[in-house]
């Protein structure tokens, strides 16, 4: 039995995608375009050496499911609560208005009736994977426009999931059938949704409190949770993605979700590559792709402009600032990846021919590749157009400022070293944030209630972002791992003061070279101190007693403090040890 041969298609996709990705990187295009192109090049349109069957299909499916899981993970209710109402309004209006626009365009271009209907339903604007990916890369996913977009996309995704379920249903004889199917879908979704929310309240906190300290188990249990929901969704004849999304939402409400996001992101990136490639693979050939080439271009231009104004009008009407409305709308000017999925389904059901799928694909490619540039330069574009857009400004626009740490002090690791320094830091910098990846430490901090904290491994990008490392004035790291400290020194602002810890002299020197302001070396300090004490013991017993008295006091004081924190829970602070006093 050959070993990897079965996965050869998949292997080819990854390698080709890497090569095209590296080329695309030189031209500033994001990886996603490279991945779609990979599919087109490897598929029937060009070389026809890869098919989207077997493992490739599985990985594409997994990629999409993981993407929605990740999306769910980012949905912290407390973050989107404030904008839930406006977002729902925008999403609703956008869906209705742009479907109507797509209908008109398709009608004007002379498609026949069934085709117009399919095209109108399939042409939904706003591609979740593209927007989420690029905004995440640009660090804007949690900005106000980013949140509005993601919120709209989620409401839209739920709508699309329903459309998909409808298209996939075998018999849709009359209005009654449609209504029943719709009802069943909605009931199922709400059931799973309620289960997910209930568990995030009652089961998950306890469960994850136990496993969060073990990196591997933490990841596997989280993935197991996602697959549990995928299986439930499959069992209920819903799309697997809905399950993954709901699983993500239920985990998002835990304090450990940032850390999890960072663990899941690479797996998603890996599989999503295959997913985007399969979009290209589905197009039947060059002829099918180009059958309606000029119609696709005309429709793309009209719909991109039209949809921008629809979104701008809707967001602006909810009272957001002009900049937010502009950015939120201009991010959404590409056809959703769902349009291809809906198109492929319609093709299966015999409602359209392959050339209409080609038209949809071309439109998707066209709008997606343009929009990646547009999103990448959204701020520059706005800066150019700002004077003209000012006219839409009205009094009382909502403030877009989101609370974030600024000019603060960060401590990495909550231990004997950092804990003593925290009060001093608090005095000097108004805010102190501790990053730690041990649940018991985070709980201690929570009880203390004095300092901000982020649960997670400093190695992870999301964790660093959450603590706003780039904006910190002072950073104190009690990690002795050189790579961690080097990454820290590379990322902090130039004028920030950085104290790091090192075990060896070589490391200390390297860290100083990279810009550390002070390197703490506890072993050498202790050696120095011990030698002093031993000398005192030898020469002057009284001096010895005096010298150690100070340290003993410190130890006792620290222990008292940690016991005070756990009043009512004797013995927690000292690991159940006994005391004979």
């Amino acid at each position: 039995m050959s070993e990897i041969a079965l996965a050869a298609d998949f292997a080819i996709i990854v390698v080709v995608a890497t090569i095209i990705g590296l080329i695309a990187r030189q031209t500033g295009q994001p990886t996603i375009i490279a991945y779609i192109l990979t599919g087109i090049i490897l598929g029937p349109v060009a070389f026809d050496i890869v098919t989207d069957e077997g493992l490739v299909d599985l990985m594409a499916e997994l990629g999409f499911a993981f993407l929605l899981f990740l999306l769910g993970l980012k949905m912290r209710f407390k973050d989107i609560q404030e904008i839930l109402r406006p977002v729902t309004n925008v999403a609703f209006g956008q869906t209705v208005l742009q479907t109507a626009l797509a209908f008109l365009v398709a009608w004007a271009l002379g498609f026949d009736t069934t085709e117009i209907l399919v095209i109108a339903l399939a042409t939904v604007f706003g591609a979740t994977p593209i927007i989420v990916k690029i905004l995440t890369d640009k660090d804007e996913i949690t900005s106000m426009p980013g949140k509005i977009d993601v919120g709209v996309l989620i409401v839209q995704d739920i709508y699309l999931v329903i459309v998909l379920a409808l298209f996939a249903a075998d018999d849709l004889g009359g209005a009654a059938d449609i209504a029943t199917t719709l009802g069943v879908i909605l009931v199922m979704i709400s059931f799973i949704g309620i289960f997910s929310l209930a568990s995030s309240r009652y089961v998950l906190p306890k469960l994850f409190r136990r496993v969060a300290d073990n990196k591997e188990v933490f990841l596997i249990v989280a993935i197991a949770w996602a697959f549990l929901f995928v299986a439930i969704a499959e069992g209920a004849d819903l799309s697997a993605k809905v399950g993954a999304f709901l699983a993500g939402i239920s985990l998002a409400q835990l304090p450990y979700s940032k850390e999890l996001e960072d663990r899941i992101t690479p797996i998603t990136n890996f599989f999503i590559l295959v997913f985007f490639a399969t979009i290209g693979l589905q197009i039947d050939g060059l002829n099918a792709l180009l059958a309606y080439w000029w119609q696709a271009i005309v429709a793309s231009i009209i719909l991109m402009v039209g949809n921008f104004w629809i979104m701008f009008y809707l967001i602006d009407r909810e009272g957001f600032s002009v900049e937010t409305s502009f950015l939120g709308s201009i991010n959404m000017i590409q056809v959703s990846e769902f349009s291809l999925i809906v198109g492929a389904l319609a093709l299966d059901q015999g409602l359209i021919e392959s050339d209409v799928l080609g038209y949809l694909s071309l439109m998707a490619l066209f709008t997606m590749s343009i929009s990646t540039y547009v999103i990448a330069y959204n701020h520059t574009i706005y800066a150019k157009l700002e004077p003209w857009f000012r006219r839409f400004e009205t009094e009382g626009d909502k403030s877009d400022a989101l609370s974030h740490y600024r000019d603060h002090a960060i401590a990495i690791g909550y231990d004997d070293i950092t804990e003593q320094a925290l009060p001093k830091l608090e005095k000097r910098y108004s805010q102190v944030v501790v990053i730690d990846r041990r649940t018991d430490h985070v709980e201690e901090l929570e009880q203390e209630g004095r300092y901000g904290y982020v649960f997670g491994d400093f190695r992870h990008t999301e964790v660093r972002k959450e603590a706003n490392l780039k904006g910190a004035d002072f950073v104190l790291s009690s990690s002795v791992e050189r790579e961690v400290n080097e990454a820290l020194l590379a990322e902090v602002a130039d004028d920030a003061t950085v104290f790091v810890e090192a075990e060896r002299i070589d490391d200390a020197r390297a860290l100083y070279e990279r810009g550390a302001d002070y390197v703490i070396m506890s072993t050498h300090l202790t050696a120095e101190k011990l030698a002093e004490y031993v000398e005192a013991h030898t020469t002057d017993r009284h001096a010895f007693e005096e010298a150690i008295a100070g340290d003993l006091f410190e130890i006792a004081a620290r222990q008292r403090r940690s016991r005070d924190r756990f009043t009512g829970q004797p013995g927690v602070g000292d690991r159940g040890g006994e005391h004979d006093d």
Binding site: M1, I4, L6, A11, V15, T18, G21, L22, R25, Q26, G54, L55, D57, L58, E61, R210, E216, V217, I220, V221, I223, A224, F227, L228, A231, A240, R263, I267, F270, D416, Q420, A421, K424, H460, T461, L476, E503, I505, A508, R509, Y512, D517, Y518, V519, M521, S522, L525, A527, K529, L530, V534, E535, H537, T538, I548, D551, E554, I555, R575, H579
Partner: protein, 567 residues
């Protein structure tokens, strides 16, 4: 089709998730529990379909890939120097014995290809697991204890042996020619990996221009290229994955992101691998049970015995030798990889395959448990057997002036120990160093007037050091059990101990220590002083940095820097 696969994965992960919760609850390694999860869901036919097996092979590829990435070539020699003797002895003694047992089973049950199957059996018996054992040892390695260091060196040695074995067993025939060509290809692959490491990988990083995702995908592409090349020339994919891992540089700007990415993906596929391998085992027959029991016996009893003796012969005290050996008694994950590779090649009989998997589950699950009883086993068995030998060894290798009086006993001859010994020399105060690492013997002989090379947990070492006449005991070793032992010593000497946390320090103070240093508290106090001095403008940050660098130079010139890059 895809739906079936998704369901198969759902079953795999839900089972793995549930059982890893159990593992986590009892603080055990999740790996045997993944395999156990596989055993439980083995009846579910979707799980063992061909596509899932392919995913499992990706699991193997990624596990080895990560091992290759973590391998630091500069360090290989230092690490191997610790282990080469004991590991080779174990290989030479246990290997043939296990081979004979395996061959006897083959004869008894009439296996086809008895030599190959005996080889698989003995590979499973000899090699120990760095994933499971290393996890268990993490605390010891961090605390810098000699036995932790020894055991992890042996793990590393075993992993390298496993890679070589994989080269050999994937040969079509056991002829000198076939094996030589396999080994030749293996060397070629590793050379290619090293070449990429030196010259190719930076190009990728430069082209990716700060995009961590592209570096990650590029690294996986390198993996794929090596796997394809390995397949093309008929090598095991494991060798390809290892060479690819060598090619990945883990320094530079995107390191953290890329390594985190590869770790996550490896954990994902690794879980699939371990579960699937469990799912391939059917309900064991008597035959399988017998072979598995024999394997467990060799791994749990013969292996530690040989390791212990080899370490002791090398000069380690019996406790260190026993503790190191007791974390080496499990079947290696590499043995599982060898087994599944053999299964795919069709050269292993089902009974041996299933026995290896079962033995792996049992021994991997027992490792953490064995660790909990290790002290009791040591006191009950090992210490009695070797009592005479222990005192003789200590006598032979120590140098203490019998009339020494009112002296200081310094425990540990690391950075702190050397510093203190130096200071005592200056003060002309008599002292005795107790150290248990024979690697330091030469240095002790050269630098110290009095020293005891022996186990500080055993009373004899203390007796030898003249504890009853000592004025002060200074411990630089941060190991709780040892500190507690010192507190129970019969002596009037003041005890200066060391501990990790102030909580432990307080307990040691209660137990009779005069003073306990907590490096973090010391460093914390210093830090507070510095922050205060900076904020009042008493000190300048730039002078602080300069002074500290000067001090580091001074320490280094005095010879107090750490000697080994790793320890």
């Amino acid at each position: 089709m895809t739906e079936q696969l998704i369901i198969a994965l759902a079953v795999i992960f839900v089972a793995a998730g549930l059982l890893s919760l159990v593992a986590n609850q009892f603080d055990l390694s999740p790996i045997p529990f993944y395999i156990l999860a596989g055993l439980l869901i083995g009846g579910f036919e979707y799980v063992t379909q061909e596509e899932v097996l392919v995913l499992a092979q990706w699991g193997i590829a990624f596990l080895v890939f990560v091992f290759g990435i973590r391998l630091d070539f500069a360090n290989v020699q230092t690490v191997l120097r610790d282990a080469e003797f004991a590991a080779s002895i174990q290989l030479l003694v246990v290997g043939p014995i296990a081979f004979a047992i395996g061959y006897a089973f083959g004869d008894l049950f009439g296996f086809g290809e008895p030599v190959r199957n005996a080889l698989y059996f003995s590979a499973a018996a000899v090699l120990s697991s760095s994933l499971v054992g290393g996890e268990v040892l993490r605390g010891e390695i961090r605390e810098n204890l000699v036995h932790g260091r020894l055991a992890s060196s042996i793990h590393f040695f075993d992993d390298l042996v496993a890679l070589t074995l994989l080269l050999v067993i994937t040969a079509d025939a056991f002829t000198a020619d076939a094996i030589t060509s396999q080994l030749g290809y293996g060397v070629l692959f590793i050379a290619a990996g090293l070449f990429l490491y030196r010259h190719g990988f930076q190009i990728l990083v430069r082209l990716a221009d700060g995009d961590g995702e592209l570096v990650l995908v590029g690294s996986i592409s390198i993996l794929i290229a090596f796997l394809a090349a390995a397949e093309y020339v008929g090598l095991s994919i494991v060798v390809g994955a290892f060479a690819a891992g060598i090619a990945i540089r883990d320094d530079g700007t995107n390191t953290l992101e890329v390594r985190n990415g590869i770790d996550s993906i490896a954990d994902f596929f690794g879980a699939i691998f371990f579960v699937t391998i469990g799912a391939l085992v059917s309900i064991p027959t008597v035959e399988v049970a017998l072979v598995a029991a024999a394997l467990v016996g060799v791994v749990l009893i013969l292996n530690p015995l040989v390791h212990t003796l080899a370490f002791m012969y090398e000069g380690y005290d019996s406790r260190t030798a026993f503790l190191a050996s007791s974390s080496l008694n499990q079947v290696s994950e590499f043995s599982l990889i060898i087994a599944i590779q053999a299964l795919l090649l069709g050269t292993i009989v089902d009974a041996v395959f299933e026995a290896i998997i079962l033995a792996a589950v049992v021994t991997m699950a027992l490792t953490p448990a064995a660790r909990r009883w290790k002290d009791r086993i040591f006191e009950l068995v090992v210490s009695r057997v070797f009592r005479k030998q222990r005192t003789r060894k200590v006598d032979e290798r120590s140098e203490v002036d019998g009339t020494i009086d009112d002296h200081v006993i310094v425990l540990g001859y690391g950075r702190q120990g050397r510093r203190i010994a130096e200071r005592l020399e200056e003060l002309d105060r008599p002292y005795v160093v107790i150290e248990n690492d024979p690697m330091l013997w030469d240095e002790l002989r050269a630098n110290c007037r009095s020293y005891v090379l022996g186990d500080a947990m055993s009373a004899y070492s203390w007796e030898k050091a003249g504890i009853d006449r000592a004025a002060l005991v200074v411990s630089t070793v941060d190991h709780r059990e040892l500190s507690e032992t010192i507190c129970t010593l019969e002596t009037d000497a003041d005890l200066l101990l060391r501990s990790e946390s102030s909580a432990e320090a307080e307990q040691l103070l209660d137990a009779g220590a005069a003073y306990v240093t907590v490096p973090n508290v010391v460093a914390g106090r210093e830090l507070v002083e510095i922050v205060e001095a900076l904020s009042t403008g008493e000190r300048e940050i730039s002078t602080l940095k300069r002074e500290h660098l000067e001090m580091l130079d001074a320490i280094e010139h005095a010879g107090f820097a750490s000697r080994y890059a790793r320890y």
